[in-house]
Every structure is written in structure tokens, then in C-alpha cells.
């Protein structure tokens, strides 16, 4: 069972590292499927629809890495302050 649990944990870890990134990505796909597609007019704007779809993920990635950097900086500053006490 320990081995199975290790495999399960590893498989989960393949896709989920930053939970918010996963949630936002799935939410963006859902939003495009369920609602946003209706906002785009037919015809020549299909390229803009695809571009907007891709830009959504680029922004989600940018948010994730900048948040990770801020969190890591905060953690390092806290460790520095504790070290000086």
C-alpha cells in the first residue's frame, strides 16, 4: 500500500505543484467553453479568440511565478530577521 500511495502521490505531483495555477487554468478553460466564446463575433475575429485564449494562460503563468518569488522573498526576509534576534 505504501508503494501504491507513493505512486499516487507522484502522479498527483506531475500535474499539481501550485494549486492556484491549476485552479485558474481549469477555470479559464471552463470560462472560455461556457461563456466567453459567445462574446466573440463570428468571422475574422476567430484569430483574436484563439489569441485571447492563449494569453490567458500566459498571464496565469506570470502570476504564478511572481507570486512564488514574492513568497520566497518574504520567507527569506523572515528567516533573516529571526537569525538576527
Amino acid at each position: 500500500m505504501t508503494w501504491l500511495k507513493a505512486i499516487g502521490t507522484e502522479l498527483w505531483g506531475l500535474f499539481v505543484d501550485d494549486g492556484l495555477l491549476v485552479v485558474l487554468s481549469l477555470a479559464w478553460i471552463g470560462a472560455v467553453v461556457l461563456g466567453l466564446r459567445g462574446l466573440w463575433p463570428e468571422g475574422g475575429h476567430r484569430a483574436l479568440e484563439a489569441a485571447a485564449f492563449a494569453i490567458g494562460f500566459l498571464l496565469i503563468l506570470a502570476e504564478s511565478v511572481t507570486r512564488a518569488a514574492r513568497r520566497a522573498r518574504k520567507k527569506r526576509m523572515s528567516a533573516t530577521v529571526v537569525g538576527r534576534r
Binding site: F15, S25, L26, I29, L58, V65, T66
Partner: protein
């Protein structure tokens, strides 16, 4: 081969090759540790059993995937591929920006050999169960990732053959280097590989999810190249930006209070 297939096959082969290379290197490190410390017979038996399980997995999964409607396959597999790619790319950016440490294959090898030396051999009928299990586990774990990559990169676009060839080529390269060098492949620029793979898989995943939900990508399959360029450009912009967030430049004049905050 016509233009559309070439557009697909090249990046598909490259993505599968590079991603599999990283996974096989990690597996090789542990198998080398097992072989060096506990004996090659046990390492090879464990690895062989792991490979058999993976072959069985592919044999079952391959035909099963053929029965899934293409749109659904593209959406589900594309989503998983996108999440996988974004995860790799995110970590590669953070490592490049020195926010998190680089993966050190030599240190991983040293740690694994220490664990194996410390654990006493659990022999049963002449077979070291711990050694076999360790080799088996790492081959299965890393192999599952390779199988996923090959299936995800290849199945959604009907390019399982180039994807499989990419993975097979990576296996041959790593095996050959492992046999020649008999030590962990620490010289391979792992983060650079993961950076490239993250870009490729994120682009592929985005493309397939779009296909799955019925988006009309301009210039059809050439959009994959545009997506690769977009992810690469963003990643290259993010590295220095993230580095400056994590380690801002110390101000030298008139702000001695602030200067003291930074190590």
C-alpha cells in the same frame, strides 16, 4: 511528408525526446546507485520488472485511447499536458531566477547511495528485495511520466510514432552514456532542458485544449510554433523580472535603513 506533418512531427519528436531525456537521467541516477551499492543483478532485475509493467501499461492504454472521441481526447489530454508543461516551465523559471535551487544529480546520487548503504540487505532466495524494489519503483515512476508525455504529445495529434521515436532515442542516449560513464549524468544542463520542455509542452497543451473546445487556430498547425514563441518570450522576460522581485538590487545612497534589510 507534407508541410502540416513536418510542422507536427518535428516539435513532437523534440518534445518527447527532451522530456524523456530528463526522466531517464533521473531514473539512471537511482539505478546506478542501486547497482553500485547493492549489485547490478538486483538493479537490472528491478529495472526489467519496471519496464515490463510499463510495456503492459502502454499495451492496455494504446488501444483504449483509440476508442475515445478525438475532441474529448484532445481536451482531456491537452489539459493534462498543459498543466504538466506549465508546472515544468514555472519551476524552470524559478530555478533560472535563483528563487529555488537547481536539481543536483550528483547530490541525488550521493543521497541514494547513502540510504542504500545504511539499509541492510533484505535477502530472499538470493535476491535483495530492497534493491530490486528501489530500482523497480524509480523505473515505474519515471517511466509513467515518459508514457504520459508520449501519449499526450502524440495521441492528440495522431503522432504517436514520432513521439515514441523521440522517447526511444532518449532512452538509447541515456543508456549509452550510462554504460560508458558509469556515473550520474550531472553534466547535462537539466534546468535548460526542463525550460525547453516546459515551453514545448505548454504550447502543445494549449493548442490541443483549444482544438478540443473547438477553437479555430489561425494558420492551423503553424499556431503551435507561434505558441512556442509566445511561451519562450514570456519565460525569458519573467526570469530577470522574478529575479529582481526575489533579490532586489540593494540601494546604496540615503537608504541605510533599507540596505540593512537585505543580506
Amino acid at each position: 511528408m507534407d508541410a502540416i506533418n513536418w510542422t507536427h512531427a518535428g516539435p513532437t519528436f523534440a518534445a518527447a525526446f527532451l522530456a524523456s531525456l530528463v526522466e531517464f537521467v533521473e531514473a539512471l541516477t537511482v539505478v546506478l546507485a542501486v547497482g553500485t551499492v547493492r549489485g547490478w543483478r538486483h538493479a537490472l532485475v528491478g529495472s526489467g520488472l519496471g519496464l515490463l509493467l510499463l510495456v503492459a501499461l502502454v499495451a492496455i492504454l494504446g488501444p483504449a485511447l483509440g476508442r475515445v472521441p478525438l475532441d474529448l481526447l484532445q481536451l482531456v489530454v491537452g489539459t493534462l499536458l498543459l498543466l504538466f508543461g506549465l508546472r515544468w516551465l514555472r519551476k524552470a523559471i524559478l530555478r533560472s531566477a535563483d528563487v529555488i535551487a537547481l536539481h543536483d544529480e550528483t547530490a541525488a546520487y550521493a543521497k541514494e547511495t547513502e540510504i542504500l548503504r545504511r539499509d541492510s540487505a533484505s535477502m530472499a532466495g538470493g535476491w535483495d528485495r530492497v534493491a530490486i524494489a528501489t530500482a523497480f519503483q524509480i523505473v515505474v515512476l519515471e517511466g509513467v511520466e515518459v508514457v504520459f508525455i508520449v501519449v499526450a504529445v502524440g495521441a492528440a495529434g495522431g503522432l504517436l510514432v514520432p513521439a515514441s521515436l523521440g522517447a526511444a532515442a532518449a532512452f538509447v542516449v541515456v543508456l549509452a552514456l550510462g554504460l560508458l560513464l558509469h556515473r550520474p549524468l550531472a553534466q547535462i544542463p537539466e534546468n535548460l532542458l526542463k525550460f525547453a520542455v516546459g515551453v514545448l509542452l505548454s504550447a502543445f497543451g494549449t493548442f490541443w485544449v483549444g482544438e478540443g473546445i473547438g477553437l479555430a487556430w489561425p494558420a492551423a498547425d503553424w499556431s503551435i510554433l507561434a505558441l512556442i514563441s509566445a511561451y519562450l518570450a514570456l519565460a525569458l522576460i519573467l526570469v530577470p523580472s522574478v529575479r529582481s522581485i526575489y533579490s532586489p538590487v540593494r540601494r546604496s545612497v540615503g537608504t541605510s535603513q533599507q540596505a540593512k534589510e537585505w543580506p
